[in-house]
């Protein structure tokens, strides 16, 4: 187990590189990729769908139940297709599809705060005042490019993303689609504006901006222009219909369940189909300090059809082999049940699940003790999880990028792929 402190991970060692390489680094002055000598392995996956459980999902009430134990709570546990894996009774369909995914039960971190833990689980790094790290999806978009004309490589559905483009160029920022029920809200022309009228407006806008740009040749002015160019190309993307789930067959829609989360999962499949590299779907409200059991039941009623439907649908379309699906949140919850029938933040052992993209189904990694208070074997770090994800997409985590301040930084510091889960 390594003991790097994430937010200073590149501390002393990189200090030497900075000291000796700084001149050269400064001269390059942009964000340049440094050559990497580690041979990258061929990719198994082409895209990632992250099912993000905002708030910190309770492991004991989902994928690591402790039926009968004093920490177990009232939800019953049911058998799955995976030997040794029990899940909550409120995940019946997930139990039936368990041969398509693997579960990690001993993921750990040291960060019990929502914001910083969310950043950690989206970037592989702890927050660091001296550098902004990119969102996992932005990094994949940078490494693998985008395949869907006009659409960005990284799209988040429903909630603001856990990180931005960091040290990467702004065009790799995650695009937020705020409303699942009205995804094109700000992408469609406003009422009463025809495409002819938009063309008039656009022409006037570029002329207007030209005058200002001529006098103010600063990078932020250029960034602003590029943001508008991206906005226009997004509005005109031939793939916008990927956001429209109404054209799906009723039976497909039914597969995902009747909830915003289910609909977002279906939208994610459509986006991956047209070539988007990374889609994040959020199921929020897992921060169950009070009334944990009623609330987790309600959340699982959305999660169960949404996640199992997504896995089934991807498999039926032959997309599961090239799409890595990741289920996780910022941490888990205390085995101890508090006075308000809730569970608090817990970072010592929590769950994540991986499916598709070359990850084997039906396997289990790590085990916790009967009360769920200790990991009994195979602790898995956040970096290990990220190394696995990068590995499956053929991205070399040791590759370095140059930050705007001229500091070389690895895609990921530390971490080993979880070989036991790879098929």
């Amino acid at each position: 187990m390594t003991t790097t402190c994430g937010h200073c991970a590149s501390g002393r060692r990189d200090f030497i590189k900075i000291a000796f390489g700084a001149g050269a680094a400064a001269a390059l002055s942009g964000r340049f990729q440094l050559p990497s000598f580690a041979a990258s392995k061929p990719a198994k996956a082409k895209a990632v769908i992250l099912l993000w459980m905002q708030g910190g999902p309770s492991q004991l009430d989902t994928f690591d139940p402790k039926p009968g134990a004093e920490t177990g709570g009232p939800h019953k546990a049911i058998e799955t297709k995976t030997k040794g894996l029990l899940v909550s009774e409120h995940l019946p369909r997930i139990a039936q599809t368990s041969d398509s995914f693997s579960v990690i039960r001993t993921l750990f971190s040291k960060d019990p705060n929502h914001d910083t833990a969310r950043y950690l689980l989206h970037t592989g790094y702890r927050t660091d005042p001296t550098v902004d790290h990119p969102h996992l999806g932005s990094l994949l978009a940078a490494e693998l490019g985008t395949r869907a004309e006009g659409l960005p490589g990284c799209i988040t559905l429903g909630k603001e993303p856990g990180a931005g483009s960091g040290y990467l160029p702004p065009e790799l920022s995650p695009l937020l689609i705020e409303k699942i029920e009205n995804p094109l809200e700000d992408l469609k022309l406003a009422n009463g504006v025809t495409s002819f009228r938009l063309a008039d407006r656009e022409k006037l806008l570029w002329s207007q901006n030209e005058g200002f740009a001529a006098e103010h040749a600063e990078t932020s002015v250029d960034s602003q222009r590029k943001a508008y160019e991206r906005a226009f190309s997004l509005m005109r993307s031939p793939h916008l219909k990927a956001f429209d789930i109404s054209s799906e067959k009723d039976e497909t829609k039914k597969l995902y369940g009747n909830s915003p989360f289910g609909r977002a999962c279906l939208m994610a499949r459509r986006l991956v189909e047209v070539g988007v590299r990374f889609v994040e779907v959020t199921l929020a409200d897992w921060d169950t300090h009070a009334d944990n059991f009623n609330r987790t039941k309600g959340l699982m009623e959305q999660l169960d059809p949404g996640m199992s439907g997504l896995l089934q649908d991807l498999a039926q379309r032959g997309l599961l082999d090239e799409t890595l699906v990741v289920w996780m949140g910022e941490f888990g919850r205390t085995p101890r049940i508090n006075g308000g029938n809730g569970r608090d933040h817990w970072t010592r052992s929590f769950c994540a699940a991986l499916a598709g993209g070359g990850v084997a189904g039906g396997r289990l990694l790590g085990r916790t003790n009967p009360l769920g208070t200790e990991a009994q074997d195979r602790p898995v770090s956040v970096q290990d999880l990220f190394a696995t994800i990068y590995g499956q997409l053929g991205v070399d985590p040791a590759k370095k990028y140059m930050t705007p301040s001229g500091r070389p930084i690895k895609i990921l510091e530390g971490g080993d792929p979880l070989k036991e889960l790879l098929s």
Partner: protein, 516 residues
């Protein structure tokens, strides 16, 4: 050679500076001369008024204000008017609210702190130009009821129900001393001198700090308590015990209240004035002497260190009041330079003004003034106040405003971290919202909207065009612009659509999103 000349120049003090008493002018006259910059453009009256309004009161000037000012362009008087205005205190309160809460609005905050009382205290401090030393002393050491001692809300906001109070240490060192200590929470700082024990020695001052909810005669209240005060604490995951101690290793006088001791230490620390002078300078000039503004390190080399020290001395002579410091900067020729880059001038020379992207508070204000957003929001606000789903402590204008600022910072940056903390990189989300949102387009078209007012007032396309330009860009159109837009209006037969299109163009223009 050059350096000797510069030294002589500074010593002689006989520069042909327009205002010998302005240390910024005196300093930069020498810098410009030394760098061989002979020609600089000054901001014209329109540019100046827009810039100073955005910087001091956080909004665009209104067309009537613009016309009155250009008729009688007394800049010094305008600066004094703006600084003393109620709106300046409002803008200060909005800006500092976000800064003191670490630029984020957690949804549970209205349950933890008293927003109305805290914001009113911030506003009042600005209105009476409370010495900054006193301001910080109260923030660091006020305890007790969060309504009667509103400064206590600052510490309350940073307390976590489970974690030891290290977030307070992160915030107070960053905000008040410009030092980043968070790395030292887990290990000795790799680049700086701070050790893990330094970090926890400061944190120990707050050991035992806790909020205590209680019933009061008018309902519900929270009290900030110290139980037990300032005892020794253990560094998490270690066996080391630390007692409250200052960064220089000294320990506080045990006969005094620990937070008072800490406040006295902070407000007399050598970084105390530097950090705030740097922050204020960066606010007005678009770039701090040290960048990022709250990251001074052992090795940081401020741009213009002499000027930084001069301004710090002046700040302390003025009893650490912010208004004289702002006035010095605002009245300087460096501040009043044009934004058009001077050829071959070094970036740091302040020979031209930097472009500053609007922050979330300014974006909300620009939407308010150019689109009559308030009318639109009234209905939301009413619903918000009457909402039965929200606890009582949410239903006040201060919390509503924080939600709106949260919304605009989300528009400016994908993660909701706005440009004042990071470099501005353009925002697709803001662009899409401004271009296509039916709500905003509805405001452009509304009967009671700003544009409808303009069209009602005068039928002449020229007058209308000028009014639209003054409203959005705070200047009249240039000749080429006039020609282009008048031709457009004519081509569209003078219809309302043509004016809506022009309004749309200017709202989406690059010029609008920057303070220049």
């Amino acid at each position: 050679m050059r350096q000797t000349m510069l030294a002589l120049f500074l010593l002689s003090g006989t520069a042909a500076a327009p205002d010998d008493f302005n240390p910024v002018d005196r300093y930069f006259e020498a810098v410009w001369k030394n760098a061989g910059i002979s020609f600089r453009r000054a901001a014209d009256d329109y540019e100046f008024l827009r810039r100073a309004s955005l910087d001091v009161v956080g909004r665009l000037p209104k067309p009537d204000e613009i016309r009155a000012f250009v008729r009688e362009p007394d800049r010094d008087r305008k600066i004094d008017e703006l600084l003393a205005s109620d709106e300046a205190a409002e803008f200060f309160a909005d800006t500092w609210l976000r800064l003191l809460l670490s630029y984020k609005f957690e949804e549970t905050l209205p349950l933890k702190i008293n927003f109305p009382a805290f914001r009113a205290w911030l506003k009042d401090s600005a209105a009476k130009d409370l010495p900054y030393r006193e301001f910080v002393t109260q923030l660091l050491s006020d305890t007790g009821d969060y309504k009667q001692n509103p400064a206590a809300n600052f510490l309350l906001a940073a307390i976590d129900p489970v974690e030891p109070p290290y977030e307070i240490t992160n915030r107070i060192t960053r905000i008040f001393l410009g030092l980043q200590m968070q790395c030292a929470r887990c290990h000795d700082h790799p680049f700086d001198k701070f050790t893990q024990e330094d970090f926890w020695g400061l944190t120990a001052f707050f050991n035992g700090i806790k909020p205590k909810a209680r019933r009061t005669f008018d309902g519900f209240g929270v009290k900030l308590m110290m139980e037990p005060p300032g005892s020794a604490m253990r560094i998490p995951d270690s066996k080391t015990e630390v007692r409250a101690r200052f960064l220089d290793g000294r320990t506080p006088d045990p006969s005094q209240p620990p937070l008072k001791e800490l406040a006295a230490y902070f407000t007399h620390h050598q970084q105390f004035s530097r950090a705030i002078v740097n922050r204020v300078w960066a606010h007005f000039m678009g770039r701090g002497f040290v960048e990022p503004v709250d990251r001074f390190t052992e090795k940081s080399k401020p741009a213009h260190p002499e000027l930084l020290e001069t301004l710090c001395e002046q700040f302390e002579r003025n009893d650490t009041r912010l208004r004289p410091l702002m006035r010095t900067i605002l009245t300087s020729r460096a501040y009043q330079s044009s934004c058009v880059a001077v050829k071959d001038a070094p970036v740091d020379s302040c020979a031209s003004m930097s472009l500053k992207p609007l922050n979330p508070v300014q974006v909300l204000n620009f939407l308010s003034t150019t689109l009559n957003l308030e009318v639109f929001l009234k209905e939301f606000y009413r619903k918000f106040l009457e909402s039965k789903d929200l606890p009582e402590t949410y239903r006040n204008p201060e919390v509503f405003k924080m939600y709106l600022h949260q919304f605009t910072s989300g528009l400016l940056a994908p993660t909701g971290i706005a440009p004042e903390e990071t470099r501005y990189t353009g925002s697709v989300r803001l662009a899409l919202k401004l271009m296509n949102s039916n709500d905003l387009q509805g405001l452009v078209k509304a009967e009671w909207g700003r544009l409808a007012d303009i069209l009602k007032k005068d039928p002449s396309p020229e007058v209308r065009l000028e009014e639209i330009f003054l409203t959005l860009l705070s200047r009249p159109p240039k000749a080429a612009e006039k020609e282009r837009y008048l031709a457009y209006i004519e081509r569209k037969k003078g219809g309302k659509n043509a004016y809506e299109d022009i309004y749309w163009v200017l709202i989406n223009s690059t010029e609008l999103i920057f303070n220049h």
